[in-house]
């Protein structure tokens, strides 16, 4: 067997050491060396992530400057039209304000928030705080009034956050619009889209409506913004109708996010 597998002794030794490391880490005996290692690796990860953001912004400027010139011309034409619509909008604003007063905003007196810094994003958002700072699996992560995701797995000095767009993410949600309200289940789709499913046909939902969390899962409050309806899919042959929902902002632009610890 030694001839069939080259360097068999070394291979077996390294396998054994890997298994020992796995066992020791599972029993939390390696917390101290891992914490020490994170002092070096987290800043490097953060530096790489920030470099990518800076480079993206530089390229983005080149494309946006041309687009801005075209938009400027169109906006000047629209300005005259908008002034006449302003009077109608003031009347509608009074009606919308009464509807929005029902929503709960995140009051610091009600929720304990802890700031986290993103240091990477692929399928999950990586943040630079972990169990050493009191974070636990299952805690919700927010930004202002918007729900970002839920802490999925955690280490001493870092954590992975499952995003709203992850297919494992299923949140009870409701939408509020000018035509009415609708309730359903918000399911993540890979990419930058969400599917608002299980909406009854008699409930009203239209493009542009905001979608909020119901809060029935227990780990997140009611009234957090989840996204905006981009398309309604209604087929009379189906029991429920659906809607595509887009997040209201790009998570890669965030400098800080917050976890609700209590």
């Amino acid at each position: 067997m030694g001839k069939a597998i080259p360097n068999l002794q070394i291979t077996l030794t390294l396998f054994l050491i890997s298994l020992i490391l796995l066992g020791l880490d599972s029993l939390k005996f390696l917390s101290l060396p891992k914490t020490a290692a994170y002092f070096f690796t987290n800043p490097i990860s953060f530096g790489v992530y920030k470099t990518r953001q800076a480079v993206s912004k530089e390229f983005e400027f080149v494309f946006q400057s041309r687009k801005s010139a075209q938009e400027n011309k169109a906006l000047q034409e629209q300005l005259a039209q908008i002034l006449s619509e302003n009077a109608n909008l003031r009347t509608r604003l009074a009606e919308t304000t009464a509807q929005l007063e029902q929503n709960i905003s995140l009051d610091p007196k009600t929720y304990n928030l802890f700031a986290l810094r993103p240091i990477g994003v692929d399928r999950y958002l990586k943040v630079d705080q972990g169990s050493n700072n009191g974070l636990k699996v299952g805690m919700p992560v927010v930004f202002k009034d918007n729900y970002i995701g839920q802490i999925l797995n955690i280490s001493e000095r870092g954590a992975n956050v499952r995003l709203l767009t992850d297919p494992d993410s299923k949140i009870s949600a409701f939408s509020i619009g000018k035509e009415g309200n609708a309730k359903g289940l918000l399911i993540g789709q890979f990419g930058n889209e969400l599917l608002f499913d299980k909406i009854l046909h008699e409930e009203k939902i239209s493009e542009g409506d905001l979608v909020y969390s119901e809060g029935t899962e227990g780990f997140l409050p009611r009234g957090l913004i989840l996204g905006r309806v981009s398309k309604v899919i209604e087929q009379q042959t189906q029991i429920f109708k659906q809607a595509k929902v887009s997040p209201v902002f790009d998570i890669r632009d965030l400098e800080l996010v917050f976890v609700i610890t209590e």
Binding site: S18, S45, S155
Partner: protein
């Protein structure tokens, strides 16, 4: 060797921050095909520990995966057409898919193959060519001369 270590460390940081492409596994397996060396096993172990740390997974998990992958690639070199892409391509693709399957099973997560696997598969051939050129840069290939 030092250059390879630096490239692997850089790939590990890029893989876990901004570019979710499994460059580390691709480089380790392809080096096993290009050069059967004990250093491949050490690289697999230590880079595996670094990857576990950066990806917030249990230490030793990635080391085990990478050691198995390097071992299989080194054993495959004994096959007749081991240097041919016909053997290399499916082995690397198998481990790319297998690694994701194993990690999703361990972490009870949904499996996401598309479109990352397609992008990673496109990296196989250029990475293999670059590694082969780099590792064989001091080997002179004599022209075959016929005796007349």
């Amino acid at each position: 060797m030092k250059t390879l270590i630096v490239i692997l460390i850089l790939s590990a940081f890029l893989q876990t921050t901004i570019m979710p492409i499994n460059l580390v596994l691709i480089i380790l397996i392809l080096r096993g095909f290009v050069r059967t060396d004990i250093s491949n096993l050490y690289l697999a172990f230590f880079i595996g520990v670094l990857m576990s740390l950066l990806d917030f997974k249990p230490l030793g998990l990635y080391s085990l995966i990478y050691l198995v992958a390097v071992l299989v690639s080194q054993l495959s070199t004994s096959l007749r057409f081991s240097s041919h892409l016909v053997i290399i391509f499916p082995v690397v693709t198998f481990f790319l898919i297998g690694e994701r399957l194993f990690l999703s099973w361990i972490g009870s997560e949904s499996l996401q193959l598309w479109p990352q696997i397609l992008i990673e598969v496109l990296f196989i051939i250029p990475t293999y060519i670059l590694l082969k050129v780099w590792e064989e840069r001091f080997i002179s290939h004599r022209d075959i001369k016929l005796r007349v």
